[in-house]
Symmetry: C2
């Protein structure tokens, strides 16, 4: 289903729901990866209404929910559809990706089945990681850590967007992230992001071409760039080089 | 497929292979859980011949291979069917279950697909656990540790079996383990292992009723008992109490 700047296209979604017996819907309403799109409150209501009283379960992947630095958090689908919503969260983005831990919020009947399925699939999660997460949550101020991450990512995102406005050709479009870790870039039609990736890599700048995120092979002129993992100095040098690479690209 | 003391029933297996287009066969040829059965060399050859030149992949779950304390290790199916055999190993039984790590030996074409499937399923294994396993394997004498485990489990198994021969009613049958961590017990028909489980638990002796291991709800008079996790003193007290519980059981 098409994703607009304010979320999923409700008309197309309604159409798909009529055309197929959809058992579950998977979405990332907060800072979707890779687009960075956050569904607006209205879109959340629209989608919830379309699913109300249907058999469809809604899986709300909220890996980026804590990384919203725009201030206001929007309501989870759980507020609209408590019996149909499963929220998945992750420590990967806020504690450490290597510990491979997360959590699930689900209605009791679904949770019961999830526990059985998880037991069948892996018996239990890594014990050491569970202890580490437990000790961290019990003894550290996790909310304070999240606020520090939010402030840092906000500053880095603002710096990156501001540099891009200054340095990128006017034909390059990009998002202004409200959370998450990425800026999503749309190059002019005919410029290959795979070619930009290869040229930028030679200058020690890593970007991710967008095509693998498209189910239909589209997005050949899209890029995902990361602002969370760099110092201000590296962001400045990276954007300068990337802008030069894009300006120097031949148009096919 | 029926499992005998020397492994899978080859006639029944041949029949199933003719009846169904079997894509893969999963087996535990070394110290099968829960029965403790190790396939004989002849049975391995029989099964390999039945699968030769077929499309069937053979998954050899070898979680217990290193815990063979009978001396001679029997050949893996990989020796007979190198292009069709996938061996899975585990650190759970020889390093620590909590680290949730293992390994796979597979033909290159299968391995390539496995790597993609694993990446899609979990991106990567827990990084900390990988470092721990790496450091352990790099700096410790892992083979020596396995030999220590083997010697200890061998002594504990022999003690348990010897006590069972002395104390159990003659109508109770049990395996003499060559590896693994369990003795498999068959009670006289009509004695419920679930009832034995409940009565033994009241005496602080934990046994595992066999029924959950049966796909057809059978095995109601079977039990799995563990020898790897107890001191000689605890094994003695446990078997004494268990034998008493079984002797005192009403026959239905």
């Amino acid at each position: 289903v098409l994703l607009h700047e304010d979320g999923l296209d409700p008309a197309q979604f309604a159409h798909e729901l009529k055309a197929y017996p959809i058992r579950f819907f998977y979405g990332v309403p907060n800072s979707q990866n890779p687009s960075g799109v956050t569904y607006s409150e209205q879109r959340r209501k629209d989608i919830a209404e379309l699913l109300r009283d249907k058999e469809t379960l809604l899986i709300e992947d909220d890996a980026y929910g804590e990384l919203n630095f725009a201030g206001k958090s929007l309501p989870s689908f759980r507020q609209y559809l408590p019996e149909q919503t499963i929220i998945t969260g992750s420590f990967s983005k806020i504690l450490a990706p290597g510990i491979r831990m997360g959590w699930v919020v689900a209605p009791p009947a679904v949770m019961e089945q999830l526990v059985i399925a998880k037991q069948a699939s892996d018996l239990h999660s890594n014990y050491l990681s569970q202890r580490i997460a437990y000790e961290y949550l019990a003894h550290e101020d996790f909310d304070a850590k999240i606020r520090i991450i939010q402030a840092r990512y906000k500053a880095q995102a603002e710096q990156m967007v501001s540099l891009m406005k200054e340095l990128m050709p006017a034909s390059v479009r990009f998002t202004t992230p409200q959370g998450g870790m990425f800026v999503w870039v749309t190059l002019p039609e005919g410029i290959s992001s795979m070619e930009v990736f290869e040229r930028a890599l030679k200058e020690d700048v890593a970007v991710l071409p967008g095509t693998p995120f498209y189910t239909d092979g589209g997005g050949k002129n899209t890029l995902r760039i990361n602002f969370s993992n760099s110092t201000p100095e590296k962001i400045r040098v990276g954007i300068e080089r990337l802008a030069r690479v894009i300006r120097d690209m031949p148009r096919s």
